[in-house]
Subunit: 540 residues, 2 copies
Amino acid sequence: MSNIYNTHLDKTAANFQALTPLSFLERAAMTYPHHDAIVHGDLRYTYEEFYSRCRRLASALVKKDLKKGDTVAIVAPNIPAMLEAHYGVPMMGAVLNTVNIRLDAAGIAFILDHGEADVLIVDREFSSVVKEALTICDDKPYVIDIDDPAYEGGELIGEIDYESFIAEGDPNFAWEWPSDEWDAISLNYTSGTTGNPKGVVYHHRGAYLLSLGNAVTTSMNQNPVYLWTLPMFHCNGWCFTWTISAVAGTHICLRKVNAENIFKACTEYNVSHMCGAPIVMSMIVNATDQERQELANRVSFFTAAAPPPAAVLAAMDTAGFDVIHLYGLTETYGPATINAWHSEWDDLPDDERAHIKARQGVRYPVLEGLSVRDPKTMAEVPRDGETIGEVMFRGNVVMKGYLKNPDATDEALAGGWFHSGDLGVWHADNYIQLKDRSKDIIISGGENISSIEVEDTLYQHPAVATAAVVARPDDQWGETPCAFIELRDDADAVTEQDLIDFCRDRIARFKCPKHVVFGELPKTSTGKIQKFKLRERVPD
Amino acid sequence: MSNIYNTHLDKTAANFQALTPLSFLERAAMTYPHHDAIVHGDLRYTYEEFYSRCRRLASALVKKDLKKGDTVAIVAPNIPAMLEAHYGVPMMGAVLNTVNIRLDAAGIAFILDHGEADVLIVDREFSSVVKEALTICDDKPYVIDIDDPAYEGGELIGEIDYESFIAEGDPNFAWEWPSDEWDAISLNYTSGTTGNPKGVVYHHRGAYLLSLGNAVTTSMNQNPVYLWTLPMFHCNGWCFTWTISAVAGTHICLRKVNAENIFKACTEYNVSHMCGAPIVMSMIVNATDQERQELANRVSFFTAAAPPPAAVLAAMDTAGFDVIHLYGLTETYGPATINAWHSEWDDLPDDERAHIKARQGVRYPVLEGLSVRDPKTMAEVPRDGETIGEVMFRGNVVMKGYLKNPDATDEALAGGWFHSGDLGVWHADNYIQLKDRSKDIIISGGENISSIEVEDTLYQHPAVATAAVVARPDDQWGETPCAFIELRDDADAVTEQDLIDFCRDRIARFKCPKHVVFGELPKTSTGKIQKFKLRERVPD
């Protein structure tokens, strides 16, 4: 409809530009050229150097005949080349595919073929598995080796090493601003707790917005010091690869994530922020006295994947870390909800605070909608903290879709919402809380059992280190809960019956495990328990 | 060009929504429903109340037959109704026109007619001038009175009072998400140091981005306490009207801005942030012992318009305020550059720090380009801190254009950059610094004289409170500098020759004022000195 406000008030180059997180790096290099952008052991790059290395990479890729919409894959840990790829690759219009470094050769080969990688950058640490993957995949990419002196071992398997490759590039390369903010910036294969990996495509608009969203949501100051314990291959490090440039922070790289290195980095560089899966919190709270160090300043620790239990929160607090609970999926660029804290909760007893902090919370300001719905009717569930529905997202930080998979894309985005596959409830105060993956609901005698509820109960037992509960087929009940348990190293002896009794004292009898299996649990490379593997292991 | 990344990966309602700052309020109301959103004397509205009052307003406007693209004007100080208008009006697709409260009747009438206001909301404090404006303007809008008990005097001149009007609206109104983020959200007439006011049109996309940009650039925490000393009618309060919702802060309203009220509010509410023109800093540093109070926490003070002199910075620091220097224009939604601070500058002597802080700095992360160019050739000036060019902006926080003024729009946005009309230099470290408005350059004997440089020199004189330098026509030299001076109340006697001599000791002789005029300076409603009025007053 025409009105005075849309007449002769059109988009021009002066007032409309594609949103892209690449602009953050240019700004940081202009504003803080001599500030440390990246620290990797003894190696330091200022923002000026970081920016020019990224432009070299972009330029070298153009010289190698790469074009807009081509794919550059990378298999590398959290090191400078990985960060550079996050800028250098999209700076010439190609799409960055960060490959999970814990995959086997077949998994990597699948991704290289499906993503149609034209170039593959690989760190020596992973040369063996990648070499094997290259013998399997149909189309061989051009291979560039990262020959990091900080790592010993492995071999060079490519045509050129990374430093020589970018040396051919122009440090003043006029990089290509995306012509459309809907253009793809990266490709992230879901690590897959179920089924085949799908290639999640991110665009510049979403990456830009989630990057700003991270900074605003987490109240990040200018010039933070960010420690890389979250793998950058995972949702592009929840987009913190780009966020840190927006606030001109310093990336502290960490090739090997363990307690000693975390505490060392925190004290040496005055780390202000870090992200990590529960496994990283485990390292911190279980650090030996020798590994542990006194921190000069408190560290904001963003976690996701599983709600932190009260004991872990208390131990993190004592160790000097403030835990903030986020939640999201690969399809939402990483975190898209936050357990936004209320100051009045500070005074609650530890247990209650942990209970409240366990909730996945509310939408990021850059996510336009968060909802719990009945996936069949698309009706919102009542905000009663009881009725289970599917958690759904809508907005600009939802993926472009799955690569070469229109059916899965249509299904995931049906009805104007992204269907997460996670089941949850909506509390009266508008905070959501996960109850389970759709597949993880156990239906026993027609009653739904939340495996999370059973796991939470098991975690209260002092001997339990890790608990996972899946359905076991049962002739009488349809399904019954079967628990898989990792015990603490220092735990007293505990039997199957002990744990079943422990649960019976605390939750409804029908929810209690009928079987308990002890042993190590299979986990994905990002630390998620692989329940589909456990389902194959339930006792007859 | 078709590639695998733009095939079957289209925009849907699930992954693409128009950017709008209105979404921040919905989120704040969902997340912190019982948190104070607005404090106005004894009146407090929680976010739940604020949100439902805005929806009532939107709903009532729909009932009044307002449609998308219609205009709602408001003449009001920094009070709750003003904030509500920032959400309620665009929530039903209309455009908010905040009118400068210091305009005369003719000025207001011009704006009402030019902006085609359908509805006018007016506070009793301004009933007299608005009543007169309504007798002048061609088309009479529907008038709604704000009958604020906190103000005594004035009269009700409209058809209905604001509370009765919104009482007719639905508090659960399903507000209209903009169909296009390029849709207009507000209309701001430039206060005009030169010529006729122009109607600057903002869109939802820009308002959203500048709102986030404010939060990120200024490192704003969650739940800040924001004191309103900057008029909301000015660039929508630099978009802080919307920023505060993105971080769920508390708006502290202040009908009357003076030293006593500022200190009282700061201590009573633990204010964390505020914005203000230099005049507000003047109030703070010149506060009497009676007005002044000890602050419990430091306040971040964002200023723009004129660089703060060293003495003012030091006095602000002592009073408990950290001054951050921003710069922008109505056409850039308010601030779009920041004097991004480097920690290594902390240790410099006061004078040097003030010198560095005087620079307008670098682009906001949400501005895509900032440049100093020759407006004729559009070539960038060298980054030498010497060569004067025109400051230019490009990006998503540049206005949509001037309402019903295609020529001015085309001219302002020519060549892919917004031409600010401000003259400046580009320093070697990429920071820009203003030297003058185009019209404020004095050309004497063929040499350019920056009036700012002469003013800076005059400000160093202990007796000078305010200085403004303009060109005086001169037969021999073409032009010569003429200084207008406001003396400090407590200043010793000073003569014209004293000040001329003072300048001659410090800057080139041809730059020194040939004439000095003492007396009060004419200022715009936002505190800018009106040089065009001074030019009429230069002595023969």
